[in-house]
Symmetry: C2
Subunit: 353 residues, 2 copies
Amino acid sequence: MNRFWSKALVGLTPYTSGEQPKDQRYVKLNTNENPYPPSPKVAEAINAFQIDSLRLYPDPDTTDVKNAVADFYDVNPRNVFVGNSSDEVLALSFMSFFINDKPVVFPDISYSFYPVYCDLYKIKAHMVPVKSDFSIDFDNFPSDNGGVIFPNPNAPTGKAVDLATVEKVVAAHPNSVVIVDEAYVDFGAESAIQLTKKYMNLLVVQTLSKSRSLAGLRVGYAIGHENLITGLNMAKNSFNSYPLDRIAIVGAAAAIKDRAYFEECCSKIIATREWSVKALEEIGFKVTPSAANFIFASPNGKYSAHDLYLDLKEKGVLVRYWNKPKISDWVRITIGTDEEMKILIKKIIELLD
Amino acid sequence: MNRFWSKALVGLTPYTSGEQPKDQRYVKLNTNENPYPPSPKVAEAINAFQIDSLRLYPDPDTTDVKNAVADFYDVNPRNVFVGNSSDEVLALSFMSFFINDKPVVFPDISYSFYPVYCDLYKIKAHMVPVKSDFSIDFDNFPSDNGGVIFPNPNAPTGKAVDLATVEKVVAAHPNSVVIVDEAYVDFGAESAIQLTKKYMNLLVVQTLSKSRSLAGLRVGYAIGHENLITGLNMAKNSFNSYPLDRIAIVGAAAAIKDRAYFEECCSKIIATREWSVKALEEIGFKVTPSAANFIFASPNGKYSAHDLYLDLKEKGVLVRYWNKPKISDWVRITIGTDEEMKILIKKIIELLD
């Protein structure tokens, strides 16, 4: 703490992202990046970009990205908000809808940025314990709240709920904004985007970082009722009017338009995930059913999860570990290529021997 | 207002940026963009960029940009914070240092984003009237405040103060963070960066949008004492961990490293500004002395400034006009190329005839 810091920084513990080593010597399965490159259309669009035009401001409304998202999901562009990554979209959403006197509700095992946003904005957080199988206990979400948020599939467990369950949650909290954080939805869960046409309190947030292989380009979006989108634009235009640069706009629009490539990548990752889960189970690991591009796995007493993380790192494979209640026996493993997953399994078998 | 909006949006009037027409038919002198393209090194760096690497997250610490800034200004990289435009840097600075019970002080004629940040964070704003010649009245800045901010040169007047004056202000408010917003400093004012080594309460904010011709890439930075930079990093990492994409990092670092090109561009703009000021004065305009890449000019009763803005737009030249007290007789004109400024002067002469 420093005497020049404001109230906002008091007691704040920032989000810790996964390690981003600067060298390339790791099989990097720790931050849920896509093992496949972005669509060739992204390279085409960026290569065709006129670099001299960088002297001019970008389109503050990111119209091309908005239109591409709207086309892809069959919604109106007025129902789309685009931001610098889904983290920025979430940060602006907490600001726009959750700064109230009532607590914001989310599962205790979930994306660890949510409690950070609560701290930043001095919002009370009501964390509802997940059940023993890590499923979200929606029945215990208090009805008197200042907002509801959960990822579907959940992170870091990978567990998804079906659309009927999502709809029940949205309908059960008609006076709160319910945010469904669908960062990983394309790998096997059902999106709630179409429900935004029916429920004016539903906001669906997605990202291009995972299923579109664009973690390095920083683009996310939200889809919801026009009133919610207007609120998000007010917050954005009171914080930073042009968060997407010209090249990010061009690359993001190209990625979204290439549906075939997107579907192919997702299918490959799902296939790799399925055999990887089996392989881990065969060597005695517990694995939660995953609808994401990662799996949540426990050595199940055969090995300490923390040691597994450290020893795999030593052997050149990075996975993610949290020393936190309920999940300290687990590691989160991003789905890489088949080759990368074979290396992972081989290294684990060596360690177990 | 909508029932789902939070307290943060109550009474909020977002910042209005200058028009960004999607077609190219205007001589665009309204948003202080640089008329020259970015350094050829930027194109080289971006063309050499491996687009496939976009599947991976960027460096959250933007080390290459930080190091380039530190080298350029002869400071330690630990004294540099990099953000998605200087607007984001300012938004995070208000959050980190100005959310307090005391008012934040700035001139009443200044960058119009400052009062928006105050509204967003519910900070009291104490706006000190500029003098009749538009100079900032530092003697009337109250000593009991929660922070001080001013641009040097000031916007939209273009008026600069010398380094001795900046130092006096910083020294006069030892218990507050004093932010000097140097978006336009490279066009003729003195930077306070070296003073950050002497005063732990001074933060200098700059941008690549103007003097580095990179408005379209969204990169800004702050230089200050390590404690201030740590605070900014805490705020950033509690909001959005990776605001700069991989290509922006590469392009920004290349731009900063090319000192010769930067100096050449600034010199050209200064030369164009000098004859443009004279030309406007010759046709009877009042012009404030400018140290920026824009001039603040008044038709001085010969024409309504609002009509001038509208009529120039009709004739294909965009300038910026604010219908606000004290400045409603003035327009702000970005310095374009010599050719663009000749067109502007010619159109004004036609209108005056």
